[in-house]
């Protein structure tokens, strides 16, 4: 097998192993019902993480995701109050995400500032804006929300693929095509693999950087739209810390934090692993919720160590 599939294979293996452990420990765990729930519950974070995958593949980072999710919800809820259709306000927010991301990308490239700082500023800016709009949770009452929540495709067994999961899978499919079958996608890998070489090989650096963060912005805004519809509300604290969950999903999905190596599909499984851990601990019932984060943390450590050993295989051979 080509070594580039190794991290993805490892992620899928961990996912399957966790799923089987769940099935071994608890009755009814190994079912499409549980699977469908995990997909639906984590759809918004996985969507955001898919966008982040591009950012991380390019060697960058995006910390503004969680705030974007909160901001999108708050704006949608307030537009709902004045009678906007969620689809229209959602579309508007996707446009906002695109522009906001593009702006971040432009600042990163034009001013040559580290993405960490620029998107950290984005994080504060958007979270602050949430509080400017309102401080409480605002419900979204439009009938479309209930209709959207009821939409689903039945799966074999008792489970169903709910609307948020469907949106997530479509978003994933689009992202896979972008990453692996467009020149933009190839440029992202090149920039992440070696910035200087990529520029010398004629990769349009500014255009690509702006597009990467714009794409990340659209995906985190889409995550926010799905989250608002899923919770039928907008809450200014929503999504707090989700940027880190998204980054964890990307890393668990086999993408190197240093860029250049990884696959978009891995992020789905990375996010699902985190969801699966939460579900396992829910099923147990007696374990403290803190274990969700602790086991997530342990897994992250293991993955980073594993990746470290994989990076070795890409190192230039000793020439002396």
């Amino acid at each position: 097998m080509n070594e580039k599939y190794l991290p993805l294979a490892a992620t899928i293996a961990v996912f399957l192993a966790l799923f089987l452990i769940g099935g071994f420990l608890y009755k009814n765990f190994l079912s499409t019902l549980v699977l469908g729930d995990i997909l639906a519950d984590n759809a918004f974070i996985i969507i955001a993480a898919i966008g982040t995958t591009f950012v991380i593949l390019s060697g960058g980072i995006d910390l503004s995701i969680g705030s974007m999710i909160g901001f999108v919800g708050v704006v949608m809820a307030n537009l709902d109050v004045v009678g906007w259709h969620p689809l229209i306000s959602g579309g508007l927010m996707l446009g906002f995400g695109l522009l906001f991301g593009a702006l971040q990308g432009l600042i990163i490239d034009f001013c040559e500032i580290q993405p960490f700082i620029v998107t950290l500023a984005g994080l504060f800016l958007l979270r602050g804006s949430c509080f400017m709009v309102n401080l409480d949770s605002v419900p979204i009452r439009h009938p479309f929300v209930a209709w959207f929540a009821g939409l689903s495709i039945p799966l074999p067994g008792e489970g169903e693929l709910r609307s948020s999961a469907i949106v997530m899978l479509v978003a994933l499919a689009v992202a896979i095509v972008i990453a692996h079958f467009t020149r933009f996608g190839a440029n992202v890998y090149a920039i992440g693999g070696d910035r200087v070489s990529a520029a010398l090989m004629g990769v349009p650096m500014r255009r690509t950087t702006v597009a990467i963060y714009a794409l990340g912005g659209v995906y985190s805004a889409l995550g926010g739209v799905i989250y608002a519809l899923y919770t039928s509300s907008g809450y200014p604290l929503a999504g707090t810390g989700n940027e880190l969950t998204a980054i964890a999903s990307v890393v668990l999905g086999g993408t190197l934090l240093t860029g250049g190596v990884g696959m978009v599909a891995g992020t789905l499984f990375g996010g699902m692993i985190l969801g699966l851990i939460a579900t396992l601990i829910d099923f147990n019932g007696s374990l403290n919720g803190a274990w969700i984060m602790i086991s997530g943390g342990i897994l992250l450590f293991l993955f980073i160590v594993m990746q470290r050993s994989l990076v070795g295989s890409f190192k230039l051979r000793d020439t002396t």
Binding site: N2, E3, K4, V177, H180, F181, T182, R183, A186, N187, Y189, A190, G192, G193, D194, V196, S197, A198, A199, L200, M201, G202, V203, P204, G260, V261, S313, F314, K315, L316, R317, T319, T320
Partner: protein
């Protein structure tokens, strides 16, 4: 013959330095044109302008007689100007196919057709007679193969000009020959090839014409056959050449100094077979051998950059326990690694910071050097080694290769070591700086320093060494004492082990 590419009156000014001054440069179709010059002569600047990485302040570029404005590397490529650099500028994490087709992937309905891309990649490599698995990551191949892949990438069907910037710097003789076959083949196909190298022999082997730059001016140009070596080198240096090939007189009694370092059975599995080696104060021991014979490995094992798994090492009679660079530094060792960019200097830090680094490590971080002490030390070193920099606060990355090497030396010397290990101290630097470093090595040993010098250049080792340890296939195969050091003896020792 009409010029394929012609640069007329090209000038370029950087802050505080005039890099090029009205340079004319022309390369004809079917010609290998060597561009020569010391570090800082303006070769890189000229090439960058030609390949669109830099703009020129004045002057004109004509391609097949027509004036062109080259605005970016992408534009240069579109015009048929390809370039391959010394550091392989490809992406090691991506597959060979992706590297070869980046930016020009064949598309169907707007999406990349990877099957077609693979075919194209194979086709490109076939032209150069390279047969490898194109799906593997580039980084899994040797530098020589990567270099050929870089050439394959630079070559399009419509490539008219190919720039090779020190392509042979990290290749051994066989690999170089392979590359030259490709170059000759391309020449016969009518390409104009610009070839930059520090190896004078290679210039005479491959080039048809030579242009020489010095301090940003064109100081000579002509057919290779009409330009004898001595003339070429004196053009490059701009002064009478001092012969550096001669043995520099060794200090009498160098081999009688006290033993400061002795390795017994030091080795590491799969890296270097166990070897014995001793080093006396005031003595220069050379490490000689072919590419891949283990020169760097010996240097790193002794310094502790590679941890040995057998044998032991004594420094000034004390047994080394940790085998770590930190311990070695504290025991008075210093090391200048071969790969300046990756392992040596910190390009973003200033000259002063680079020089202070090792000293600070030795002192420990609790006793910080005061700013004025740092400045004083840096100034002293800059003067002592003749580092050409406007001031001590210039980032090292902006200096020329030879000066970067001197900064590395300065860094090693500032901690006042008793043992200095140099791995390829003259790699990638020009003739003038070369001679300065060679005489510097002799001077240091005369001051009582023990030096271990690993080098691929025989003449250099012959010039500086009191004793030479000969390596072959990661094994020490012999030692040559001072009076027996000759080219023939070294080659003989390497060859005799081949049985």
């Amino acid at each position: 013959m009409t010029a394929r590419i012609e640069m007329i009156g090209v000038s370029k000014e950087f802050p505080a330095v005039r890099a090029l001054e009205r340079v004319n440069f022309r390369v004809a179709s079917g010609e290998v044109h060597a561009l020569m010059g010391e570090n800082g002569a303006g070769k890189s600047t000229l090439i960058k302008i030609m390949t669109g990485a830099l703009g020129s302040d004045e002057g004109e570029i004509r391609l097949d007689g027509r004036p062109v404005e080259i605005s970016s590397p992408g534009h240069a490529r579109a015009l048929g100007i390809g370039a391959v650099y010394q550091e392989v500028n490809l992406v090691p994490t991506m597959s060979v196919t992706k590297n070869l087709t980046l930016g020009r992937q064949p598309r169907r309905f707007g999406l990349i057709s990877w099957r077609e891309a693979r075919d194209r990649a194979c086709e490109k490599l076939e032209r150069l007679k390279v047969d490898i698995d194109v799906e593997r990551p580039l980084g899994s191949y040797s530098v020589a193969v990567q270099q050929l892949i870089a050439i394959a990438r630079a070559l399009e069907d419509d490539t008219r000009v190919l720039v090779l910037d020190e392509p042979t710097a990290s290749l051994d003789a066989n690999e170089t020959e392979l590359l030259f076959q490709v170059v000759r083949d391309l020449k016969h196909r009518g390409l104009a090839i610009v070839f930059i190298t520090h190896f004078i022999d290679q210039v005479y082997e491959i080039s048809d014409r030579i242009s020489v730059l010095r301090n940003g001016r064109l100081v000579g140009a002509g057919a290779t056959a009409d330009l004898p070596r001595l003339k070429l080198i004196s053009l490059m240096l701009g002064r009478e050449l001092k012969r550096t090939e001669e043995r520099l007189a060794a200090a009498p009694g160098a081999s009688e100094g006290p033993v400061v370092l002795s390795a017994e059975g030091l080795g590491k599995r799969r890296t270097m077979a166990p070897f014995d080696l001793s080093l006396r104060a005031g003595e220069v021991v050379g490490l000689s051998g072919l590419l891949g014979s283990g020169r760097t490995e010996v240097a790193k094992l002794i310094f502790g950059a590679t941890r040995p798994d057998s044998g032991h090492l004594e420094v000034s009679g004390e047994r080394m326990t940790a085998h770590s660079p930190r311990q070695s530094l504290r025991r008075g060792m210093a090391f200048c690694p071969e790969d300046r960019k990756a392992e040596g200097i910190l390009a973003e830090l200033t000259v002063r910071e680079n020089i202070i680094l090792a000293l600070q490590t030795k002192m420990g971080w609790l006793r910080l050097l005061r700013q004025n002490e740092q400045e004083k030390l840096a100034e002293e070193m800059i003067r002592a080694l003749g580092i050409a920099t406007p001031d001590a606060d210039k980032p090292v990355g902006q200096l020329s290769g030879g000066n970067q090497q001197k900064v590395m030396l300065a860094r090693a010397l500032v901690s006042d070591p008793r043992i200095l290990i140099l791995d390829e101290p003259t790699r990638g630097i020009d003739v003038g700086a070369h001679a300065e470093i060679v005489s510097l090595i002799r001077k240091l040993s005369a001051e009582g320093l023990a030096l271990l010098v690993a080098s691929s250049e025989l003449d250099e080792l012959i010039a500086v060494s009191d004793r030479i340890a000969v390596l072959r296939d990661r094994r020490k195969v012999g030692e040559i004492a001072r009076n027996d050091i000759t080219r023939e003896n070294i080659i003989g020792t390497i060859a005799s082990a081949r049985s």
